[in-house]
Amino acid sequence: MIEVNKNNFEDEVLKAEGLVMVDFWSPKCEPCKELMPSVHAMTKKYQDQAKFCSLDTAGNKRLAISQKVLGLPTIAFYKNGEKVAELNTDFSIEDVEAKLNELK
């Protein structure tokens, strides 16, 4: 997974072609940290079909809010720079995989 932040978000996500998934998390968010290993495992399975990014909202708060993310965990999907789908606060890894399969 690619670490994205306020400096590279535009290039890596908004200017990217195709499907990009961004995992918004923060070190204080326990549900996020719990979900993370399964997200990382899942991305390996689909590595040729989408680009996977991880965004620590601590230190990137404005960026998260600019993406209308104000609750964690959030996983957002972008296609050619446009946000096309989002899962937030109450979802499972199965929901993420289903959404990915729907969009890829």
């Binding site: 923060s26 204080k28 968010c29 326990e30 549900p31 996020c32 940290k33 719990e34 979900l35 909202t57 601590a58 708060k61 998260a64 809010i65 209308k68 993310v69 104000l70 609750g71 964690l72 965990p73 959030t74 989002e86 937030n88 606060t89 109450d90 499972s92 199965e94």
Partner: protein, 406 residues
Amino acid sequence: MSDIYDIIVIGGGPGGLSAGIYGSRSRLKTLILQKGRLGGQAATTQELENYPGFARGTTGPVLMQAMADHAESFGAEILRDEVVDLELDGDIKKVIAKSGKEYQSKIVILALGAEPRSLNIKGENKFRGKGVSYCATCDADFFEELDVVVVGNGDAAIEEAMYLTKFAETVTIIVIHDEGILDCNKVSAEKAFANPKIKWIWSSVLQEIKGEGLVESVVIKNLKTGELSEIQPNGVFFFVGTIPKTELVAGKVDLNEQGYVITNEQMETSRPGVYAVGDCRVKYLRQVITAASDGAIAAVAAEKYLAEEEGFKEMVLNIEGPVMVAFWAPQIEESITAVSELERMLDKTDGAIKLVKIDTYRNQRLVKRYGVQEIPTVLLFKKGELISKLTGHFSIEDVKDEIKSL
């Protein structure tokens, strides 16, 4: 048979983990199944000040991880798997998981927990993750130097509001009660009243959440005057109690009207071999300490249940020849006499007929199972089958007649 567990605990909050600690420490083969993150609701609470022995400085996640490590150190297995169905009939219970795996166990301990209640206010669902939150530790960061509203006034609401003041510019608490009245404990109330960042709106409820993409304003209704007012917070945190996560066991064990599992003091549910602990059961106080206490009680009760069940199988149900089971009670003199008469009589049969004595004061389960209403009662088993029952006023002659007819 080796893959049959003694105890499967469903849920890895403080109740489930404590059951795991007590179960595995008693050398019972114990499995804890946990859907997502361990620790239940306690793992989302940063401020945990009232667990005995752990004063300020302990956080929910830290304490929960310590409990999980503790359980594993005694040999409890912890697996990530979501339970989707349960078959609780019979001696061996089946636990079916989302992964497709089916686990088997003699005992099931339900530690299903509870989740934050949703009020279904207009806009609440739409702005979930967009300013509406149920988890202060997850989302407080976003509201640094911003304004938030808290709905609720119980322990959780006031304590989480205090936590939010470390981040937010102002925290406005909307309280349904008259001015000065809070449902939370006095210590928290005093701290909150003294906190300059906290503002209060009394006798009011939240009516609507509005915004374009993110929360921009909320409509508040004063219950006394009926007046509506609007303020512009960036976030709304709901702490308005919890609802039990018991859909999985509806129709399988008895629940009360609100959906909480009904148990007795041993944490036994309406179904033999099935226990419930923590926030999902009917109880007075839902806290980490009471959940942990429930877990300990359930595991010990389960251990006793297993010993009694195995004992009864070994001594009665698995025996080929005739076995006489005599129910007695220490406070019923007649039953003591009857049992000693039986003992003398059976001594003369040179062990052809075995006698098993059940103290009804200690073992209510067998009393219920065999519908024993009077003490003494004698049950006669052969090849594990109940073949006759003598109850109330019977003489030793009656017993002899029964034996002859064998």
